[in-house]
Subunit: 374 residues, 2 copies
């Protein structure tokens, strides 16, 4: 009985946490519930990066009701000064009797320390329930902290005959406009979108996201969003559509030693030099490390064959969004999604099919990379 | 009221008809219901090629109850001697008052003639309800009669990176065994499976079907099934697995003038010579015409790139079964599903997504070719 009650409230925390999707990164998504006797005295979630933690919201709502209550939360509360003071202080001071959470915070500044602090201050602690669900919800955060890189999703749209563009490189459009709108809403969950100069030169996209309907305007304004362009020889023009939105930061990665161009880019554009690899492409690991340093927790990669192959070759992906559109392109397969590294079929570690969604005449498949060596 | 009652019973006919799937071709699937007052006096369906028509089964079950009844059926009853005597005779003689059916029979020996015969004999006739549903159910039959060729389904399994085999031609296995079992059950609905000698030489498959669980053994024995192999230079060996089942007929198409081989094939093997096209491949239209002449109504094509491209280039396909397996093959795209004819994306006539089915870690998409010029 006790356990199923804990699970009900922890599931509530996980559901609340999701409300912060797209707004909290590189912080984790957290929801909290204060339970006094048989009723919920307070609840809350981390609404956006820089705003109060879920525990603060829930305890504030509970007020005096927090005394002798049980606090449920999907992640170990913090015990360090970040953008906000430590949650452990607030928990202890507000008289919470017991804290139940799903999983330890992988951040070495917290990891297990909060448990000690709470116990030493007479607060009962229980954790480990719904641990895998909690880890999956914040997969991007665990990746960011444990692997020191953003969580990476690769996205492409493919014809039924396995091509992401026709022989001339044209890819407008393999999927319906409904699928493309859906995809722009997916981007909201990410901190950055990355593409190559080829896409900019050919399609001249804005590379924007759509704000999901349920997100309040005031919160949507807090969304941080980067547009990342790999352009080794700085071919793209300063008046490309990608620069049209002054609120988004743009980072262009160029090859080391590319002569400073006379091109005058807008103020929100940063140009970063990285090494080339032996194949002439930019060193994707250096790019990723730079993005990590900027606090980019979730990266949406919308590449052509070259870009996707770079990520694939290093095993640098956590998720795949594969759209299959009801089109047949024909001709030679000049643009498959991946080239590069060959893995014999008999020694494959499967990628796991998480979800299948039909969108009008297209299908979206979401795969999870089960084996993540990098 | 009248109409909704008609629709209820015609839907019942469509449902009954489906029981004949895989067993009646090149006949259509037909179900029939005899309604007397407010109750069903008899029902039946065409169980297998050579067995009685649905109308015969239903009227026989109704017995004396057929007098002054309404007969529902999804296709215009026949009025000619085929394997069985004309249904119009039986309908008139058994005293049926009214016949309601979905669609005229496209067969010129029947088309509208039965309506005349019934009316001239005092039987009331109504038709046209659920016509598109009825045409779709028997799409293979309408294709066979109207286009004078089998209904053609192309099937392939593709990795998430759009390849049907790795660079060495290996395709074992892109999908899970569950998806492959499912696919063998799909084959049951067909009269023939077609593949190339490349597949025989590389994978040495039996090319069998699985009998769905609900099919009675006695009926399954009546199943006609052909294995068709395109092998221009007669490379395959007489002891290949494809010849192991003596009940299935095998037809090997070779290029005109291929010297009579000393290879001794089993008795159930027929070798047919056809012309080559300018690209060296066998003339697929000649192959298809030959299969039509043999009364093959539904053809399942399980090709490699060459075979699939041949069908695609001539627009000779009605259905696509696309399996996407959770594998990444990598390397150059030597084996995409199609090469051949290029259709610019902006002038595509979409293929229509009929169904999406998840099978363990794989996805099956069923597309219908909306534009069928051939």
């Amino acid at each position: 009985m006790k356990q199923s009650r804990d699970i009900i409230f922890l599931n509530k925390c996980l559901a609340l946490a999701k409300n912060g999707s797209g707004l909290v990164s590189p912080n984790p998504m957290v929801g909290a519930v204060v339970v006094k006797g048989n009723h919920i005295a307070g609840y809350g979630w981390h609404r956006a990066f820089g705003l109060p933690h879920a525990e603060v919201e829930a305890i504030k709502m509970a007020g005096a009701g927090a005394r002798n209550s049980t606090l449920y939360v999907n992640l170990e509360p913090c015990c360090h000064y970040g953008k906000t003071p430590p949650c452990t202080d607030l928990i202890i001071n507000s008289g919470v009797k017991k804290v139940v959470f799903c999983t330890l915070d992988p951040n070495p500044e917290v990891n297990g320390k909060s448990v000690e602090i709470l116990k030493n201050n007479g607060v009962e602690v229980r954790y480990g329930l719904l641990e895998s669900e909690a880890r999956r919800l914040n997969a991007f955060y665990f990746t960011f902290v444990e692997k020191k890189r953003p969580f990476i999703s690769l996205k492409w749209a493919m014809s039924v005959d396995g091509k992401i563009a026709d022989a001339s490189g044209m890819s407008k459009w393999i999927t319906t406009c409904q699928a493309r709108e859906f995809q722009k809403q997916l981007r909201f969950e990410y901190d950055a979108i990355l593409t190559g100069s080829g896409t900019i030169l050919k399609d001249n996209p804005v590379l924007d996201f759509n704000v999901p309907g349920q997100i309040k305007k005031r919160l949507a304004k807090r969304k941080r969003f980067y547009k990342i362009i790999l352009d080794s020889t700085l071919k793209i023009a300063p008046d490309a559509n990608v620069f049209s939105n002054a609120n988004a930061n743009v980072v262009i990665f160029v090859a080391n030693g590319v002569v400073e161009s006379k091109k005058k880019f807008p103020e929100n554009v940063e140009i970063v030099e990285v090494e080339r690899e032996s194949n002439g492409l930019l060193d994707i690991r250096a790019v990723i490390f730079h993005l990590y340093s900027k606090g980019i927790g979730k990266l949406f990669v919308q590449g052509g064959t070259k870009i996707l192959t770079s990520f694939y070759n290093y095993g640098l992906f956590d998720n795949i969004y594969l759209f299959v559109g009801g089109k047949i392109i024909g001709g030679p397969a000049i643009y498959p999604p991946f080239e590069g590294k060959i893995i014999p079929l008999e020694s494959q570690s499967e990628i796991h099919l998480e979800e299948v969604i039909r969108i009008k005449n297209d299908v979206l498949m979401v795969f999870r990379n089960v084996r993540r060596d990098n």
